[in-house]
């Protein structure tokens, strides 16, 4: 069997040992999201200090792709400014795991890969609007989240 284009060592490893798996009590941002098509379901918890991601955790159930992508996402946004997080793009995330090809090859599995990013964008949106009363910064993050699939 040739090397699998999806199930790389890295993805299997993350799926078994996800990064930042757990929960934050009373987080500044909490977003639950799920994939209505397959049942993947995650909770993303973020704390913001001085406009930066100071802590991020997630828990939930999902396939290897979902677990790996969520792990990597939490790693990548740790310490980033809100602005950086706001502009974080799916290509960066997918690229990190060599999954860019899913966009073309698997309309179903791409949803597993992007579930956490969707939750992140929605979560930041809500934070801007509800906690900071700053609809301007929130911009079209909500539409961006929706358009992720």
């Amino acid at each position: 069997m040739s090397a699998d284009p999806i199930y790389t060592e890295m993805i299997i490893e993350y799926s078994r040992n996800p990064s930042n798996f757990g929960k934050i009590d009373e987080p500044h941002i909490h977003r639950h999201d799920s994939n209505p098509l397959c049942g993947d379901s995650i909770d993303l918890y973020i704390n913001i200090d001085e406009n930066k991601v100071s802590n991020v955790k997630f828990d939930g159930k999902g396939c290897a792709i979902c677990m790996a992508c969520t792990s990597v996402l939490t790693e990548m946004i740790q310490g980033k400014t809100l602005d950086e997080v706001k502009n974080f793009q799916k290509d960066e995330l997918l690229g990190e795991l060599g999954l860019e090809h899913l966009i073309k090859t698997s309309p179903v599995r791409i949803k597993c890969a992007l579930l956490s990013l969707k939750a992140l964008k929605h979560g930041i949106y809500t934070f801007f609007v509800e906690k900071m009363n700053d609809t301007e910064s929130a911009g079209n993050l909500k539409e961006e989240a929706s358009s992720l699939y």
Binding site: S34, P36, L37, C38, P107, V108, R109
Partner: protein, 414 residues
């Protein structure tokens, strides 16, 4: 005969049924296109190909066939968006037909937004599909139905809409873009402007418009728009509801079931994103994919050419009909003001008898109330004959229709 900028002869070859002989080897003259159109081989083959090579349920599974089917199905949404200039594909909902589309609005939007004492406005030339759902709603919530009457040319008397709107109670104006009996093209732009000023929402029944002319939903800027695939070369069982996202987001789901949910728990459930929230259960996958071939076919011809061909044919038919004694024609006499539909009565002969007699010559027209009994009451007739044209109709076929009326005259000793 080439009657427009496209080749009628080539087009006719694409429609296998047009080669049919009916009733003792007569050539079929199919003039019942407002009821349903014939299908080009492209559409028929697209459905077969789907079942022969790809068939699977969609959206959920990860296997090869499911991916192919899902992609093909969702691509149709994009195609429709492009065809009708719809900016957001999430606003396109697949249903069975215009009837289901209107009922969806009447249940999911109507039950929430139309209350006791409110008014729903419709018109005297509506199809039953755009009357009965509002009667059912009105009865349930205690609202009222008001009509916009038609004048002697079969056009809406829009001043009556002003009067209705002036009550301040109108929640919705539901009107067809084109009358399926008279062919009258409604001045929807004027109606929409009036409704916006008055804060009323507007639903357009486009069942007879989308097949026959260019429709631009973005620039129309109404609230709801409904139409059927089978009246525009597509398979039966596919229709579209377009609605503004702001409405769809607020509306309760209509049917509950698979695909329209996000998470189901024993005692509560959350809804899927648009458009899936309104697409419960396995959709009519194969026919949605077949419908795409119909849109391609019409796009290739060009909707402006479709319209030009119908104007030419209608003008031709109206001119010829002038000379037939005992013929009463209903609706606009100006082909620019109507789509390719002509309703008529012939002396005192009941339309059913006319249709049966000319059917012997292979001529297929519709006779009856055309699901527009309110209009029949207005015209003070039990029924009319209706000849309706489409992209493959020829002037020769119009001639056969008119000549056939001589048989009717002979049988009825006129």
């Amino acid at each position: 005969m080439q009657s427009t900028s496209y080749s009628l002869e080539n087009i006719r070859k694409d429609f296998p049924v047009l080669a049919r002989k009916v009733r003792d080897e007569k050539d079929l003259v199919y003039l019942d296109n407002a009821a349903t159109t014939q299908k080009p081989i492209h559409v028929i083959d697209a459905i077969s190909d789907y079942y022969k090579n790809h068939n699977s349920n969609i959206h959920r599974a990860v296997h090869a066939l499911a991916e192919e089917s899902t992609e093909a199905f969702e691509a149709v949404r994009d195609k429709i968006a492009k065809f009708l200039n719809i900016k957001d594909r999430q606003e396109i909902i697949f249903v069975r037909g215009t009837t289901e589309a209107i009922n969806l609005v009447s249940y999911s939007w109507g039950r929430e937004n139309v209350k006791k004492g409110d008014i729903v406005v419709t018109t005297e030339y509506e199809h039953h599909s755009n009357i009965v759902p509002w009667q059912l709603l009105a009865q349930e919530v205690g609202a009222e139905i008001k009509y916009i009457d038609i004048d002697e040319n079969g056009e809406l008397i829009l001043e009556q809409l002003d009067d209705h709107l002036a009550t301040g109670k109108v929640k919705l104006v539901a009107v067809s873009h084109v009358s399926n009996v008279l062919g009258t093209i409604t001045d929807v732009n004027r109606i929409i402007t009036k409704c916006k000023d008055a804060g009323a929402k507007i639903l357009i029944d486009g069942a007879q418009a989308v097949p026959h002319m260019k429709v631009d939903i973005d620039s129309l800027d109404c609230d709801f728009y409904a139409f059927s695939g089978h009246k525009m070369l597509g398979p039966t069982g596919v229709g579209i509801l377009w609605a503004k996202k702001e409405h769809l987001e607020k509306m309760q789901p209509f049917h509950g079931g698979g695909d329209m949910i996000r998470e189901v728990h024993k005692y509560e459930t959350t809804w899927n994103d648009l458009p899936y929230k309104f697409e419960a259960g396995t959709p009519n996958i194969a026919d949605v994919i077949g419908f795409a071939a119909a849109i391609d076919y019409l796009s290739n011809i060009g909707m402006d050419n479709v319209r030009a061909h119908e104007i030419e044919l209608t003008a031709y038919a109206l001119e010829k009909m002038k000379n037939v004694k005992g013929l009463t024609i209903y609706g606009p006499k100006d082909p620019q003001k109507a789509s390719g539909v002509i309703s008529f009565n012939f002396n005192d002969v009941h339309p059913h008898d006319v249709a049966t007699i000319i059917d012997k010559n292979g001529v297929a027209i519709r006779s009856g109330h055309h699901c527009a009994q309110v209009l029949m009451e207005k015209l003070n007739v039990a029924a009319t004959n209706r000849a309706s044209f489409y992209i493959y109709t020829t002037k020769e076929e119009v001639d056969v229709l008119i000549n056939s009326l001589e048989d009717v005259a002979r049988v009825f000793k006129l």
